[in-house]
């Protein structure tokens, strides 16, 4: 099926190339590709297994070191931070939160929070200056040299991942996980995955990770609930999660559509050119009618 589609597209492009000038083809290729585009094929991701995580916060420490972030107020081996729910901030790309087992029998569950690097990121579609890029490697990157600090990306992010440097007067910027883009480019793996002592975080091609996650669920049906968070949510994310308890108990948002969020504003934006063209026509007619009435008097 997949294969067949590809061929039709190629045929179609060939026909277009033959028919049109290069400029026309250029735009046609883009338009066509966009409709069919289901994400960069080799994009990477991370698989986080919440049933494995022991809450040691090594990932937090490694992230802090790798990204040269400011030293934390409480050291990374301090467990008292789990007493409240934390979120990524201007000085921490990632945090781990503890959830006590509500049935009170099992051990607590830990969840790592950071930018999920969506397939079609809402932050990128929200940004009025295109400061965000979804790279073919999977990372969603932010460019501080374009940003003017409107913080619409923070409003738009379904996972509330981006943090903002409210303390900075003149050079505030968005702060968020980069999926260790520079390390990955050099052939390495993200610092958090490297640091994890129990391999609760695994780095790899997203499609491989999905297969791996499915295999784990099949192999240990009692250990996991039958779902991979991030497979479908808002069009899929690079971070994928496995859990033994329902995801909403770990504060994963459960009210998100499966379609990328950019779909929500598409309808509105496509009405814009219509208003631009139709309004002058209607108002012109109304004006002409008024003038006509005056002349009749």
């Amino acid at each position: 099926m997949e294969e067949k589609k590809g061929i039709t597209r190629r045929d179609c492009l060939k026909a277009l190339t033959a028919a049109g000038g290069t400029a026309l083809v250029g735009s046609a290729v883009d338009a066509h590709a966009y409709k069919k585009f289901s994400g960069w094929p080799d994009r990477c991701g991370m698989l986080a297994d919440t049933t494995e995580c022991v809450g040691c916060r090594s990932c937090e420490a490694a992230c802090n070191r790798a990204n040269r972030l400011p030293a934390p107020a409480v050291p990374f081996d301090e467990k008292s931070v789990f007493e409240e729910k934390r979120r990524p901030t201007a000085s921490a790309y990632t945090v781990v939160n503890r959830y006590s087992d509500t049935e009170g029998t099992g051990p607590p569950v830990y969840r790592k929070v950071q930018c999920n690097h969506c397939n079609e990121p809402s932050c990128a579609s929200a940004c009025p200056v295109r400061a965000y890029t979804k790279t073919p490697e999977g990372a969603v990157l932010y460019n501080k040299d374009l940003c003017f600090g409107c913080r619409y990306c923070m409003v738009a992010c379904p996972f509330s991942a981006p943090a903002y440097d409210y303390e900075s007067a003149l050079e505030p910027r968005i702060v968020k996980c980069t999926l260790c883009y520079e390390r990955v480019k050099k052939g390495g793996i993200p610092a958090c995955a490297e640091a994890c002592p129990v391999e609760a975080i695994k780095f790899g091609k997203r499609k491989d990770l999905l297969r791996l996650a499915e295999a784990r669920i099949r192999k240990y049906p009692d250990r996991y609930i039958d779902r991979i968070y991030g497979e479908q949510e808002v069009g899929g994310t690079s971070w994928l999660y496995l859990s033994g308890v329902p995801f909403d108990r770990l504060d994963f948002p459960e009210n998100l559509p499966d379609k990328p969020l950019v779909e929500q504003t598409k309808g509105f934006l496509s009405a814009v050119p219509l208003v631009l063209v139709l309004w002058p026509a209607f108002l012109g007619m109304a004006y002409a009618a008024t003038r006509n009435k005056e002349e009749d008097k």
Binding site: A124, P128, V129, R130, V155, E167, V262, F268, G284
Partner: protein, 412 residues
């Protein structure tokens, strides 16, 4: 070198000074400035302006409650999201008079356009304080384009519309400066600018609602609707109408000496007329809000705490002021219409605060703790609002806004 002698010399700078001081010698002019209002205003500004300076020394954190979870605080919830619908006055009045031919509302057009222009100007000022690097405000227009963003559209439209409104108001400025020839050109473009104004307003008023379409998991489902752009646009229509009533009420009371007989004499019947139009739009809006609940089948949410709050908004702050306006119109009571207008304004502001702050992130634990703004932020907002009033008053005191300039009576 006293001011009087300068004025008599008749050179350009001296004539300009005379206009600035409204024909008074400087000492007299300064004396007129000592009023109770100005004393209070100075008090507010002397606290608020240093706080605005502080934002550019120590960052936004020192003046607002904005946080990682609530990136937009009252500064934008009030200044931009409430300020823009209340500034729909310009496009509403210009369209009514110039396009649809409601000529009798002519005395209110300039007031409407000025209120709109000032509203947008100050929405931008709130924005410039709030955004991280205000000197990059032109980036969406010149440096990097993000056409998939609704905010990109808002940025362009607000910038263009600010220019359009300045051009729409320019005849008043040019009459004040006695620049007959330029004024003629400015008047010639009235129709074009009016049409441009309606297009731009339709799009960015609705776009302010469409901004939140990207946050389906965050805005409470009773306020999140695919109709958000329509809600914002339709409510901006009646917001503009009732704002004209409200502002004309205030200026007719406090700036009576700047208005001519045509303005003051026609104000009561025109108020009733505007009230009639506003009430009709409000009933349409009320129906739309109910259709919104039906469309998403959210009836069951109405019996939750947020549901009660939703009912308060649409019944007490949309339907009820609509009814007050209708009663006022039926009894031909401008007084009652004015009361209804202020009431309706409160409803518009409540709606915008509900979408941007009160129900935004309703499911985040500890939600609502951020709602009472810190004292510093209140003073920043008060200071900007005070400046807004002072500059508005400065213009109305000098330019023909509430009256026709005797030298330019040729009509239209």
């Amino acid at each position: 070198m006293s001011n009087e002698s300068m004025a008599k010399a008749g050179t350009f700078p001296s004539r300009f000074m005379e206009k600035l001081l409204m024909g008074m010698p400087l000492s007299d002019y300064v004396r007129t400035l000592i009023t109770p209002f100005n004393v209070v205003a100075m008090g507010i500004l002397s606290i608020g302006i240093p706080l605005i300076v502080l934002r550019f020394i120590d960052g936004l954190a020192v003046i607002t409650h904005a946080s990682h979870d609530y990136p937009w605080s009252i500064l934008l919830g009030w200044g931009l999201f409430s300020g823009v619908p209340l500034s729909a006055t310009g496009y509403i009045m210009a369209t009514a008079v110039y396009i649809f031919g409601f000529k009798k509302y002519h005395p209110l057009v300039r007031l409407g356009v000025l209120t709109g222009f000032m509203g947008y100007l100050f929405a931008v000022i709130y924005l410039l304080i709030d955004i991280g690097r205000p000197w990059r405000i032109y980036y969406p227009m010149a440096v990097s384009f993000g056409p998939t963003s609704v905010l990109f559209l808002v940025a362009w439209h607000v910038a263009l519309y600010l220019t359009v409104q300045l051009l729409e108001f320019s005849p008043a400025i040019l009459e004040w400066l006695n620049s007959r020839r330029v004024r003629k050109w400015a008047v010639m473009i009235t129709i074009g600018m009016t049409v441009a104004g309606v297009i731009l307003s339709t799009l960015h008023q609705s776009a302010l609602g469409a901004l939140f379409l990207l946050a389906p998991g965050k805005v409470h489902p009773l306020w999140y609707s695919s109709f958000l752009p329509v809600f914002f646009f339709v409510s901006s229509i009646f917001a503009g109408l009732v704002m004209v009533i409200a502002v004309s009420t205030v200026v007719a009371r406090f700036m009576r000496n700047r208005a001519d007989q045509e303005f003051l004499g026609s104000l009561d019947p025109l108020t009733v007329g505007l009230g009639r139009a506003a009430s009709i739009v409000m009933f349409v809006y009320f129906a739309l809000k109910l259709i919104g609940v039906a469309h998403d089948d959210n009836w069951s949410l109405l019996t939750t705490p947020y549901g009660y709050w939703f009912l308060v908004e649409v019944f007490l702050f949309v339907l009820l002021p609509g009814i007050v306006l209708t009663r006022g119109v039926k009894r031909n009571s401008a007084r009652m219409v004015r009361f209804g207008a202020f009431f309706a304004l409160a409803g518009v502001i409540l709606n915008r605060l509900n979408v941007t702050l009160i129900t935004f992130n309703w499911n985040v634990p500890g939600h609502l703790h951020h709602l009472v703004p810190p004292v510093r932020e209140v003073f920043v907002v008060l200071a900007i609002a005070t400046l807004h009033i002072i500059i508005f008053r400065w213009i109305v005191n000098r330019m023909p806004v509430l009256k026709e300039h005797p030298d330019y009576r040729e009509h239209e």
